[in-house]
Symmetry: D2
Subunit: 162 residues, 4 copies
């Protein structure tokens, strides 16, 4: 493994419908095909589907877990990080990523989107939250129409950062 | 001080315009008048204005700081909690509150709103973020037209929890 | 409450023998008598006994909790801080204190002693861990023979810091 | 990379003498030779020397960083985890390891030893802290005479856990 890997985060809910799971799996697959490592919260739902997709393409998967045990990781996590800090691990998930792809998701995903935008980490959305606040702040979530476009946008935003 | 105090959080940006500061100060004043303790992130902007208002009415102010030193607290914080955990302290700010009033705010406030809703803590908004995600999730932020209404709603939501 | 309060931490195990509980209670009482606020981890054992002592003398007690709910606080905690970050809250307990009194204790207490010494916060020990590492590092834990001496040393070390 | 990797933590000070650096490098080399992944705090000193040793043998190195940027990682970290939670990341370093080897070290290392023992994670010491508390608690740090013995003990303790 090279030192200069690209790390892309995938965030979304711990419970998913089959269409959302397919979307997440395809995002994971695409990240792996392009040689990036996948960072996520390590649990089920969107996280598990994305790790499954990445694993099938031989990619590296990192799961930053909230609890006290590596056993909580989904079976496709290769590198479990056991934080023991609960939801505060969401901050570590986004900060360990150079760009984040948000898929569907609930309030935890909204918190992660907030932390990412606060840290200047680009967020690409696939059917996720829409946020707004009068004239001051635009919806900074960059929308994508499908998984390949989401991953493509993540890569080009990371390149522009450097 | 009684054991059964009510704890109300005030969240919002570290930099504010004068009208937003007046709003936050009035929220702080109202919280103190009604005998609740004010919880916030302990820094400037909305946090400082709210603490100033609460202090003027003889209320108790708690500032949960991100950094390594109590010196970063605004001058109206009476109880500085020094976490050293950076933005992850946002989770502690909302979890230590029984209801949260969000005033204006930037992405950090959005993250706090996400954490609060994820934890089932009611969020009352005064000119803050608007969030939505298709049919599945409503904008769960309860809007208020002015500081007294925001504090009134916070109290009635806390009573209903118990 | 004045802005310039002194904050003294009390650390120790969540389970105690009656003699250790009496020691902790007396430490809490002495802290309150001298007008300082007591900071602790908010749970049982040494933490509860110290909060009980401080409360009996009309002192202020702050409990920085590891879990997700204020209900876990012992009944003598007046200000529960709900962090949700598990054992990592130990860092916040010591950093929120200007000096720390360690009573008895297990490995969690040892971790807190390490965090305190790392942050330059004085540690006074009452029957607690003894630590050493060859010639390089002395046992920096300041021993006290009884609760009044422990609290007296805490106050004089805090004054010297300023 | 297989899902069932062994993760061994190396903890120690951020500044080291040349003999301590050689010790840490040899520990890293031995961990990699035996096919385990190395977990550490990602910075300099013992952490950097251990990552250097592991890298030279083609091993995988994970650095769980305290700050806000992956740039703080030493050049031999392949997987930087950016936590942003400061010293509280020490908890994640030990919890992400199945056994921990403590080399030399200062107070941060002492805190990590406390967190590891509190979590039931075996600690093997090479010239590190000695801890004791009367009859109740033994020095639970298992001493090793050299790097190969330290790594050998780590592996056999991990096998016994399973």
């Amino acid at each position: 493994m090279k030192n200069k890997s690209v790390f892309i985060g995938v965030i979304g809910g711990g419970e998913v419908t089959p269409p959302v799971a397919r979307l997440a799996e395809e995002v994971g697959r695409e990240i792996a095909r392009r040689g990036a490592a996948l960072v996520c919260g390590g649990l089920g739902g969107v996280m598990e589907a994305a790790c499954k997709g990445a694993s099938e393409e031989g990619g590296l998967t990192i799961g930053i877990l909230p609890g006290e045990s590596r056993r909580a990781a989904n079976p496709y996590v290769q590198i479990p990080i056991v934080t023991g800090i609960g939801y505060a691990r969401n901050v570590a998930v986004v900060k360990s990523s150079q760009a984040v792809i948000a898929i569907d998701g609930s309030y935890g995903t909204l918190a992660e989107i907030g932390h990412a935008l606060q840290s200047g980490i680009p967020v690409i959305g696939l059917g996720t939250w829409s946020i707004s606040m009068d004239e001051k702040a635009d919806n900074k979530i960059i929308t994508a129409k499908d998984p390949p476009e989401a991953v493509e946008k993540a890569f080009s935003l990371i390149e522009n950062q450097e």
